[in-house]
């Protein structure tokens, strides 16, 4: 069987798109490489779980964050795949190594989407309301925030540290305002680098 034909069959087999004749054609290859079945099962599992967690039409939550993580994972996979392959590897086997990348990245996407879906579902709201700390982000360097649930007060509190005091001359009730960004109200530090 020609290498190009093997690749085509493998790709379509992974996506459950083979017809009966093609299936018989591929069987010959699978008998030579039985480990391919395990890899296909792994691929199918990730695909099924992704469909369960993520329904088409929904917006991906935290899209920017997700995309950056995904790009990083792909880059890492590419670096791994750029290492010299064993000389014995054939063309279709080389191609097949690329299946490892989507499977790995798919698993990461699954974990991420599962987490966000759990976090945004109504049941998870109960869990979060029951005691999980919120996500807090302070973009200004030198300013930190932490959360405290004060159950006996029936309240939750976010404490912000590092915030410079307003000058006493500032008349909030009269609507007066601070001069500009460099005045005394905030301690300016370098931006955090993530």
């Amino acid at each position: 069987m020609k290498s190009e034909r093997q690749e085509e069959l493998l790709v379509r087999w992974m996506d459950d798109e083979l017809n009966e004749a093609e299936g018989r054609e591929l069987e010959e290859l699978l008998q030579e490489q039985p480990e391919l079945r395990a890899l296909r099962d792994q691929h199918a599992l990730v695909r099924r779980d992704l469909r369960e967690v993520y329904t088409q039409g929904d917006d991906i939550p935290y899209g920017d964050f997700f995309q950056s993580r995904l790009q990083r994972a792909i880059a890492e996979e590419e670096n791994t795949l750029e290492t010299p392959a064993p000389k014995a590897a054939t063309g279709w086997k080389e191609m097949f190594r690329w299946w490892l990348a989507p499977v790995g990245v798919g698993a990461m996407a699954l974990a991420f989407l599962a987490g966000t879906r759990v976090a945004s579902g109504p049941e998870a709201e109960m869990v979060a309301a029951g005691g999980d700390s919120p996500l807090l982000y302070t973009p200004e360097g030198g300013i930190t925030a932490h959360y405290q649930a004060v159950d006996d007060a029936g309240a939750n509190v976010i404490f912000i540290e590092g915030l410079a005091a307003f000058p006493d001359s500032l008349d909030l009730m009269a609507g007066s305002r601070t001069e500009d960004e460099s005045d005394l109200h905030l301690v300016r530090h370098e931006q955090k680098v993530f």
Binding site: T138, G154, A155, V157, F166, L172, L186
Partner: protein, 163 residues
């Protein structure tokens, strides 16, 4: 015919806006700006005392415990389904602002909300958390005039607007 067209033209904006479900109110956000101090501030004379509920709650919070609490201002704003909205608890001032948008469907016990605190027109903090009905969230603000500004946030049902 011309009358029909003119009428349709006039009605079109309201029809379009009526279709924008993103502007639906999923809840209300009540915000309050409090000033806590250990001495009755003469500089803030005429400012009303904070409601008893705030005093009772804050007196149990280590770090925000003061002998006097005054209410500098309050604001109630809708939480829209798809849009960011702003609250200005100190009316006429841009020094303390809150921006917010929902992060989930409202549930029986609350709503997951993205909330940002802006101080002196700069974003200081962003939180994503579940706000529960009947449970205040307090945020410690800047020190000022020997005391401290405290921002209070509470989730209200849409029908609580008039209360």
């Amino acid at each position: 015919m011309r009358v029909w067209l003119v009428s349709l033209w006039l009605l079109l904006p309201s029809l379009v806006s009526a279709e924008d479900e993103g502007k639906n109110e999923v809840a209300l956000l009540s915000t309050v700006l409090l000033f806590g101090s250990n001495a009755e501030s003469e500089a803030n004379g005429g400012v009303p005392k904070a409601e008893t509920g705030h005093v009772e709650r804050l007196s149990k919070v280590t770090g925000l415990k003061y002998s006097h609490y005054q209410k500098l201002g309050e604001d109630v704003q809708p939480i829209w389904r798809s849009y960011t909205n702003w609250a200005s608890p100190m009316k006429g001032s841009e020094e303390i602002l809150l921006s917010f948008e929902p992060n989930s469907e409202p549930g029986e016990r609350g709503l997951r909300l993205d909330l940002e605190l802006w101080v002196s027109r700069r974003k200081i903090m962003k939180s994503t958390q579940v706000l529960q009905h009947h449970k205040w969230l307090y945020i410690s603000g800047p020190k000022w005039r020997g005391g401290q500004l405290i921002i209070g946030v509470e989730l209200l049902e849409p029908q609580q607007r008039a209360q």
